[in-house]
Amino acid sequence: MSETLTGPLRRQRRPVGEALAGIMLTLPAAISYFLLLLLPTLAAIMLAFTDYELGAPAIGWIGGENFVELLDDLGFRQSLRNTMVYTAIVVPFSIIGALALALMIEALTRGKALFRAVFFLPVVSLPVAMATAWQYLLHPTIGPLNALLREIGVNGPAWLTSSDTVLVSLAVIGIWEAIGFNLVLFLAGLTAIPRELRQAAEVDGVASAWERFRLITWPLLGPTTLFVVTITMIRAVRTFDSVAVLTQGGPNRASEVLLYTMYTEGFTYFRLGYSAAITLIFLLIVLALMLLQTRILDRRVHYG
């Protein structure tokens, strides 16, 4: 309809004026995109194949040597393994937890906004400051958690300074940070499911709440869940703040994670080529996770 309405008008203005306007309006974004995103990203990829160090007089092309060195680098392998373990803990707990909370909050008649706000709070809280609060909470001697454990006769571990518990402790903080974000996404997904569907199922004899969840809510929530899984994984893979603030990768590399290793190699030791190689691996992992999401999405049956 708009075509018939605007046809003559379009002919008047097109093509030169509109083309020019289009180019002029995209130009600032295009220039900054080129200078601040495209160029440095390509440079980072190139850098990964050099031995560049900040302050070094020359830069040499060394092909895949950085990657060969990474494969042999016990610290890097530990870092990669830690990142995977951390992700493997944070993803299921923060997603199942958020889904359970979302279902409970969605079913409330009163107090929805209150509980949503409570669980969402970590998303808007300065991570560095909250990491400090966690450090106090988990402090081996003066921390309230171990004080509580002492009350019941248990000698709590040094959560953040023992290599046995540090990764799990960081993962708990990660879950705490991620749940509110995932909860809000699930709540948005749940609101999109018409209430009548569940009521109709109840009328049709799907009596138990679990059956209604399994038959209706869960399948309809599929796209949301897939998205939440991907974004939680990516956010877990790029975890940095809590490690930088609380453990600096220690003790004994037990909490070294990918981005923190990249940061120390690049900005503490100024081995930029080596650090770029880690960045490239990081980028490939993120891309693989995104590709996985699109693949599954493409194969899905579309509901509704």
């Binding site: 440095p40 008649t109 980028l283």
Partner: protein
């Protein structure tokens, strides 16, 4: 008959959510509690939440006298406002052009936007650091703001939103003799306020809380953001003085949390819409 059962279910949900919520708030509760206790009381590790003798504000006065709190918050404000200003300035016209105008290279530009969405901001960080270092721009607001002025996510978000705006709106404005620039800022943006608000909240939360990039380009308090400020206080001055540390954490966390509590619905919607599209 269903009424009492529904009420019981509601009550149980309240109890369970209340219990979980309380557990969730523990870091905040203990943070505030410790910030009001003198050091010797903290070191006794008692489980009393309420400080003995009514508590003390000495931790807060210590932080306020030793840490340039207002300066850090001001830096955070400048950085977030600067980033948001340029993101909007660049992304709104681009989003409009891609959504509504026919120009050579449009599909190519949109492809570039989609490609940019795949790259986490940590990837260009190394070369950007080298570049800023070579230009003598480390430890400046420019270094903090510049890398984030281009947001492909903003362009994408605005493009999606502008596509749903009726063409008639634009044609009417053109008939009134408005130029494309005027259309973008006086017709399109006012009609895109929900998307713009959602993006603004997303952007401010992300950059206010960011540690990675400020840690790379800033050293020293002059240009430190709130996140860096807390980090400096931890390493340089406070050490094991948990009372002062908690007071500093409370002070630095409060502004954004307060903003959230005042505009809860907008925050949640903003994060949900941007989250689902990013």
């Amino acid at each position: 008959m269903a009424e009492p059962r529904a009420r019981l279910a509601e009550l149980l949900r309240w109890l369970l959510l209340g219990l979980l919520g309380l557990m969730f708030l523990m870091p905040y509760i203990w943070m505030v509690s410790a910030s009001l206790k003198p050091l010797d009381e903290i070191f006794r590790a008692s489980l009393n939440l309420i400080p003995e003798n009514g508590g003390t504000l000495s931790n807060y006065t210590k932080v306020l006298s030793e840490v340039p709190v207002a300066h850090y918050l001001w830096n955070g404000l400048i950085v977030c406002a600067g980033i948001l200003f340029f993101q909007i300035l660049f992304a709104v016209p681009a989003g409009y052009a891609i959504a509504k105008l026919n120009f050579p290279g449009r599909d190519w530009v949109f492809g570039a936007v989609m490609l940019g969405l795949l790259v986490p901001y940590h990837v260009p960080a190394l070369p950007l650091y080298v570049g800023f270092s070579a230009l003598g721009l480390l430890n400046t607001y420019t270094a903090l703001i510049l890398p984030s002025v281009i947001s492909v996510f903003a362009i994408f978000l605005f493009r999606q939103f502008f596509k749903s705006l009726p063409d008639e709106l634009i044609h009417a404005a053109r008939l009134d003799g408005m130029g494309e620039m005027a259309i973008v800022w006086r017709v399109i943006l006012p009609n895109a306020l929900p998307a713009a608000t959602a993006f603004a909240i997303f952007s401010v939360v992300a950059h206010w809380n960011d540690l990675f990039w400020p840690l790379i380009v800033v050293s020293g308090p002059t240009h430190a953001t709130p996140a860096l400020g807390v980090l400096y206080f931890r390493t340089e001055e406070a050490g094991d003085d948990f009372g002062a540390l908690m007071a500093a954490s409370v002070i630095m966390t409060t502004p954004l949390v307060l903003a959230f509590l005042l505009a809860q619905r907008r925050f949640v919607e903003g994060i949900a819409t941007t989250g689902l599209k990013g």
